[in-house]
């Protein structure tokens, strides 16, 4: 149903209807007098049960208990309005009989003068229009919010009820029916509204209340229809039924507000409920005060207390405020300021009242006067506040307070300057110069840095004052963390303490050179400044420490760089030395023991040919020959292992071919050797040849032994200025990142050693491998021709 209503034109049309109804009934009311008599039929007599003191009936002397005989010249029983609503409205003459008297009187009802009735009728009209207007504006501004839409309808209905109240009391055409309908329908919207505002709150209570309210509304509607058609006359019951709905609405509202107030502190609903409550307080308090208190204490009702009902407009305004604004002020603070203001007003007005009483200006104790005093004091307080603000604004615009503004500017410029890394002492001097104060004293305590004190101005050359301030700092630092102005006997004017995670700091500012006292309003600026100063000092200390550490790091880095180079040199030297030793060993074997054993071998062969054919001798010689051959073999094997002579004698290509052949006869491997760009006569520098040979040796042996692959491919290619060496297989591979770790742990040293040696020649070793992806070792060694 609500969706269908949710079209902008509906809202505009209903608003126009509202305005037309409101104004129409209002002007109709001005022409109609208000009688204000409620009648009850007892034993066929129409007895007055209520006589409204504002009504014309009361004014004409008709009181409760009087019997109404004739209205407009005919029997009361026949009067349409008496029959229908039990009211003596629309009467121009009333004939009645006072209680206990037998003589009847006739009064002629004359309408009141228009200004007077205007004054009485206007408040409810204004209130009604305020309700509608606030709802309309809320909808207009936040039409996408469901709560705004429901608020519009709720306010429209409530506003209509207010607008119609006077017309209805005069029984103007359809006004009473409309009023009852709107009164009983508004709570339904109220419940709907509360179930989504300020938070969605579809609890059982709300649902239950909604159903009850709907039933009551339908009942009321039925009763109104029947009454209008003069089928039954249950006017008072209809009124009660519509009021029941209002009560249901109020109970639901209180229940929901109660729920909201119980929400945790940070919950936005709680604050919103607080502001709504505040609006209700402002709205209903004056109304209750002016209307209810006199009744309770039997005071005379204030005349035209309806004016106070205007305050009720605070309720829809507060709702509007909550819905339209996303961020709200703290309701507790608002409460507090209101309570403070009211208390102040009460105290002031009490004093004023007592003064007036004792000066005998007042004849006696009159509550009304006191009340008026309270209201006026309150008004005065607020007016004073606003006027003061306006004047300050105006003066600020006229730049009258230039000096104060320039103080702020000074602080701002100092803050900017603080960001630049100036010398600290100079900076402090600059600050006191700029602020026109006579000194600054800063104490900073830090576990690492110890206690640091900085002083400028008067405190610089006054150790006694510094000591005094330091004592104050030590005494105060743990007790109080609020910036404060110091008493006049203290050398400093302002003290700002700080505690950060690792430092405690106190900043003392001296006094103005002009001897003008510091103002409370200047305290935040000094706090800001002190914070910056503390931060700067800590930062400069930290930077100092860091600089030292960086310096140390730099030195140690240079040392370790140097050490690394030294070690690199040592490693290269060691490798060269090892290689030289190997070569020397190989040469020693080949030129010494091997030659002798070979000599031995051939002499034994000769001996065999010349010795007698004696079996024993032949056997011995044969045995010796075998041993000599073994000796040759072992020595050759040893020489080949430590440094193959073929590499020295014939170069890399021959040595590589021999190596591969040897591996293929000794191990289970097939090696494909591909040589490009060089022949077996091509020779290189000894270092290059031995490094390349060791690369192949290591690569091939590793692959044969560890890769589980039986096929190896070896490439040796010479480009313009470098040798490209490759050993690859399609075996199980390894993680090449491990190579660095091998260097550190010393495991698989062979490859790591090769890497170092190749790099020491200015070459590069690439290891391309992965688990189960084979291995390719690739080396580039630069050659100089």
């Amino acid at each position: 149903m609500l969706e269908k209503l949710n079209k902008p034109c509906i809202y505009y049309i209903t608003s126009i209807v509202f305005i037309v109804l409101g104004l129409g009934y209002f002007f109709a009311c001005l022409t109609q007098p208000y009688i204000g008599l409620l009648l009850k039929n007892t034993n066929d007599k129409w007895i007055v049960v209520t006589s409204d003191p504002y009504g014309e009936g009361y004014r004409s002397g008709i009181r409760v208990g009087d019997e109404i005989l004739k209205i407009n010249g005919e029997d009361a029983i026949n009067n349409r309005f008496v029959k229908k609503w039990g009211e003596a409205e629309r009467a121009s003459t009333i004939e009645f009989r006072k209680q206990g008297e037998f003589k009847s009187q006739t009064v002629i009802i004359t309408p009141q003068p228009i200004p007077l009735s205007l004054f009485r009728e206007l408040p409810s009209l204004i209130l009604g229009f305020v309700f509608w207007f606030v709802g309309f504006i809320t909808w207009y501004k936040r039409s996408f919010l469901e709560q705004a839409r429901i608020l519009f309808w709720m306010n429209w209905l409530i506003g209509l009820a207010f607008v119609l109240s006077h017309a209805s009391s005069r029984c103007l055409f359809l006004s009473r029916e409309l009023e009852y309908i709107s009164i009983s329908l508004a709570p339904i919207f109220l419940i709907l509204f509360l179930s989504i505002f300020p938070v969605v709150n579809n609890n059982r209570f709300n649902k239950f209340a909604f159903i009850i309210a709907c039933i009551t509304f339908l009942t009321t509607l039925a009763l109104i229809t029947l009454t209008s058609l003069n089928i039954i006359t249950v006017a008072s019951f209809t009124k009660k039924a519509s009021l029941v709905n209002v009560i249901i609405g109020i109970i639901t509202m209180l229940f929901n507000l109660g729920l909201l107030i119980r929400q945790p502190k940070h919950h936005p609903g709680r604050n919103e409920a607080g502001i709504f409550l505040l609006g209700m307080g402002i709205g209903f308090f004056p109304f209750a005060l002016l209307s209810a208190v006199p009744i309770i204490f039997n005071f005379d009702q204030f005349l035209y207390s309806q004016v106070s009902s205007l305050f009720i407009s605070a309720v829809p305004i507060s709702l509007y405020y909550i819905i339209v604004n996303k961020y709200l002020p703290d309701s507790r603070r608002l409460f507090l300021s209101i309570i403070i203001n009211i208390s102040a007003a009460i105290i002031l007005s009490t004093v004023a009242f007592v003064v007036i009483y004792f000066l005998k200006i007042l004849p006696g104790y009159i509550f009304e006067v006191y009340f008026v005093l309270v209201v006026f004091t309150l008004l005065f307080t607020y007016c004073f506040y606003f006027i003061r603000k306006v004047i300050i604004r105006l003066l600020e615009k006229r730049s009258y307070f230039q000096s104060e503004r320039s103080f702020e500017q000074k602080v701002a410029s100092i803050n900017r300057n603080l960001a630049s890394p100036l010398a600290e002492e100079q900076r402090l001097e600059e600050i006191i110069k700029n602020l026109n104060i006579d000194g600054i004293f800063i104490i900073l305590e830090n576990e690492k840095l110890g206690c640091i004190k900085k002083a400028a101005g008067r405190f610089k050359d006054n150790p006694k004052e510094r000591e005094e301030l330091e004592n104050f700092f030590r005494h105060k630092q743990k007790l109080d963390l609020e910036a404060k102005m110091l008493p006049d006997d203290c050398p400093a004017g302002i003290y700002v303490p700080f505690i950060s995670s690792d430092a405690t700091c106190g900043v003392f500012f001296g006094r103005h050179l002009s001897r003008i006292k510091f103002e409370q309003s200047e305290l935040p600026f000094f706090t800001l400044l002190a914070g910056q100063l503390e931060y700067q000092i800590i930062m400069s200390l930290v930077i100092g420490e860091l600089t030292k550490e960086i310096d140390l790091l730099n030195k140690s880095s240079r040392r370790s760089q140097r050490r690394k180079m030294e070690l690199q040199g040592v490693i290269n030297g060691l490798f060269q030395k090892i290689e030289r030793e190997r070569k020397r060993l190989s040469e020693n074997i080949c030129s010494g023991p091997l030659q002798w054993s070979m000599d031995l071998s051939r002499w034994l062969k000769y001996l065999k040919t010349i010795s007698p054919v004696d079996e024993k001798t032949q056997k011995v010689i044969a045995y010796l020959q075998e041993r000599a051959e073994d000796l040759n073999y072992e020595l050759n094997t040893l020489a080949n292992k430590v440094g193959p002579p073929i590499l020295t004698h014939l170069g890399l290509v021959s040595a590589l071919q021999w190596l591969c052949q040897k591996v293929m006869t000794e191990e289970l491997a097939l090696i494909s050797v591909q040589i490009q760009g060089l022949s077996s006569q091509t020779r290189f520098a000894e270092e290059v040849e031995i490094t390349a040979y060791r690369f192949f040796e290591e690569g091939i042996i590793n692959s044969v032994r560890h890769s589980r692959s039986h096929f190896q491919t070896v490439f040796l290619t010479m480009n313009e200025n470098k040798l490209e060496l490759t050993v690859s297989d399609s075996g199980r591979g390894f993680d090449p990142n491990q190579l660095e770790n091998w260097l550190i742990t010393g495991s698989h040293f062979g490859l790591a050693e090769i890497k170092e040696r190749i790099e020491s020649l200015g070459g590069e070793l690439q290891v391309i491998s992965g688990i189960n992806r084979g291995t390719t070792l690739k080396a580039f060694i630069p050659i100089s021709k």
Binding site: E626, E629, P645, S654, A669, S680
Partner: protein, 226 residues
């Protein structure tokens, strides 16, 4: 390579021994002294003394060590041949390695001998080259280069029956040990022979199979032992 007694020259052959290892050279000289048709005219250890001695005498054959202290035997041979183109050179090597044989052959040596060769072989070689022939032991043709084509490998390398017949029972035993697989040293240890003997045996098996790699031998043997 065949040497005939009837073709023995009357004249003594002048032999110059160039060897960096003096004791070994002395041994060579002493051995040659048992052969009357050969006269060792001197021993030199380096290039310098070699050319010195050539000023006074002209040897027919030079027994040249492959490695000298100040130069390589190959370089010296080239220089000698330049000075005396008629001079014959027999190179002496320590290890029977393909590279040496091919290099000596390529550089134009008339002969090649292992240093452990017998006097008989040495004299045969000297006579052979002196006559204008060549004497290579080992022969360069033994190292005909074999390129292994991974895409063209066939097993067994010879028919199973042939392989079975080729090998002696000892060699079969070695093949079994190879399939385990054991290294030469391990085979030697398990058979109670020296590593040289084990390697020698394996080389013989490879020769019999007509291959040069242990893997091929092994993969072929699986067919025999299946």
């Amino acid at each position: 390579m065949h040497w005939d007694n009837s073709m023995e020259p009357e004249k003594q052959i002048q032999v110059l021994i160039v060897d960096s290892n003096r004791p070994f050279a002395e041994g060579t000289k002493a051995l040659l002294s048992f052969e009357p048709r050969i006269s060792a005219i001197g021993i030199v250890e380096d290039e310098y003394s070699c050319f010195n001695i050539l000023k006074d005498s002209s040897p027919d054959v030079v027994l040249l060590d492959f490695y000298l202290k100040d130069t390589s035997g190959l370089d010296l041979m080239a220089k000698l041949k330049k000075v005396q183109p008629t001079i014959k050179v027999i190179m002496l090597i320590e290890q029977n390695q393909e590279g040496y044989v091919l290099a000596a052959n390529r550089q134009g040596a008339e002969g090649l001998l292992l240093k452990t060769c017998s006097l008989d072989e040495m004299t045969k070689a000297i006579f052979s080259v002196a006559k204008g022939g060549v004497y290579f032991s080992p022969s360069p043709s033994a190292f005909s280069p074999i390129e292994i084509d991974f895409n063209d490998l066939h097993f067994p390398v010879k028919p199973v029956a042939v392989l079975n017949k080729l090998l002696t029972p000892e060699e079969k035993e070695i093949m079994r040990l190879l399939t385990k697989p054991l290294s030469n040293n391990e085979i030697a240890a398990s058979l109670g022979i020296t590593p040289r003997a084990a390697e020698h045996q394996v080389q013989i098996i490879l020769l019999k199979f007509g291959i040069r790699t242990r893997l091929e031998a092994l993969l072929s043997w699986f067919f025999v032992e299946k």
